[in-house]
């Protein structure tokens, strides 16, 4: 799991931390601006970027070699995708509501 390289991971950890704080600040400030239909999209893109940073660098998914672990993570995202996208394909398109 942990990378066994000689170099210290500390600069990477602090850089990710800084990026996460910056992302929080940006999403907070951007929410004050009306972007129309892109309001939610921008907020979710920033949130997903932050989540990826945490998963890749803090949870060490980046560099994880195990195929079984990759399978678990990809399956999780896939089934969450089915849950959200197929549900919204139904409820989101009910013209009679």
């Amino acid at each position: 799991m942990s990378d066994h390289s000689k170099s210290s991971p500390l600069p990477k950890y602090f850089a990710v931390w800084g990026a996460l704080l910056a992302g929080t600040y940006i999403t907070y400030e951007v929410s004050k601006i009306d972007l129309g239909v892109f309001n939610a999209a921008v907020a979710l893109i920033i949130a997903t970027t932050k989540a990826l940073l945490v998963a890749l660098f803090f949870m060490h998914l980046k560099g994880a070699g195990e195929k079984l672990l990759k399978l678990v993570v990809i399956s999780t995202v896939f089934f969450l995708f089915i849950l959200l996208v197929l549900s919204m394909a139904d409820y989101g398109t009910r013209a009679w509501h």
Partner: protein, 236 residues
């Protein structure tokens, strides 16, 4: 694991007492524990996913009411809590790094800091909940959300019944998240105790890594809860 105190000065190839007999190598043991945790996190993703799905459906149906209700929550408190959780995630990775590099003092400090950040988060959350109780925004008999204009439509009032659905989702989602934080604080209290007793070494600190995975996952849930609940339609 009960007699896992590793004597100092063991050779690199000496048998590590922390290695359980049914694993071939320490790496295999570590990977198994990590894989098990990721499978648990997969179930957690689906668990929270159902709530996010319910939220998305109702938000689409009652967007104006949800926006009005969302505006009544203090986004600055939510933003502060996001920053607090991000800092706690940093102290978690620093704690693991400290264990990997045999820095016991730093390990203890980082675990205590993580718990302090976690407690701060719950304190700010408590302040938010108290405001909601004072404003009668808690779903139930005393719920009141009368004559609140819909953002962008000053002539229209939000439907209190629809706003109540928002607050029900708000309390269930943030409440479940807070419960995860409380469980996490319990885990980290145990990790702190184990670290205090010197149980973790550069060779064996799997409980720290597993606890860290849990903590980061709870952080990720909040990373989505913050924009979805607090920042729906804030612009004037």
């Amino acid at each position: 694991m009960h007699d896992s105190t590793v004597a100092a000065g063991q050779g690199a190839h000496a048998h590590n007492p922390a290695l359980l007999h049914h694993f071939a190598t320490e790496e295999q043991q570590r990977n198994s524990a990590s894989l098990g945790m990721w499978i648990f996190l997969a179930t957690e993703v689906m668990f929270f996913g159902g709530l996010f799905c319910a939220y998305l459906i109702y938000r689409r149906w009652y967007f104006g009411d949800f926006a009005a209700a969302s505006k009544s929550i203090d986004a600055a408190l939510g933003g502060a809590n996001t920053a607090v959780l991000i800092c706690s995630s940093l102290t978690v990775v620093l704690a693991i790094w400290a264990a990997q590099t045999s820095r016991r003092g730093l390990l203890l400090v980082m675990l205590v800091l993580t718990m302090l950040f976690g407690t701060t988060f719950l304190g700010i959350k408590g302040k938010e909940y108290k405001d909601k109780f004072d404003e009668h925004h808690v779903p139930g008999a005393s719920f009141s959300f009368e004559h609140v204009p819909i953002p962008g439509h000053p002539d229209q009032y939000a439907n209190p019944k629809h706003a109540q659905i928002f607050f029900a989702l708000y309390f269930v989602m943030t409440g479940l998240h807070a419960l995860h934080m409380i469980i996490g604080l319990g885990l980290f209290a145990w990790l702190l105790w184990m670290s205090w007793k010197g149980r973790f070494t550069p060779e064996y600190h799997t409980p720290l890594e597993i606890g860290g995975l849990y903590w980061h996952f709870v952080d990720i849930v909040w990373i989505y809860l913050f924009p979805l609940l607090y920042l729906i339609d804030r612009h004037p």
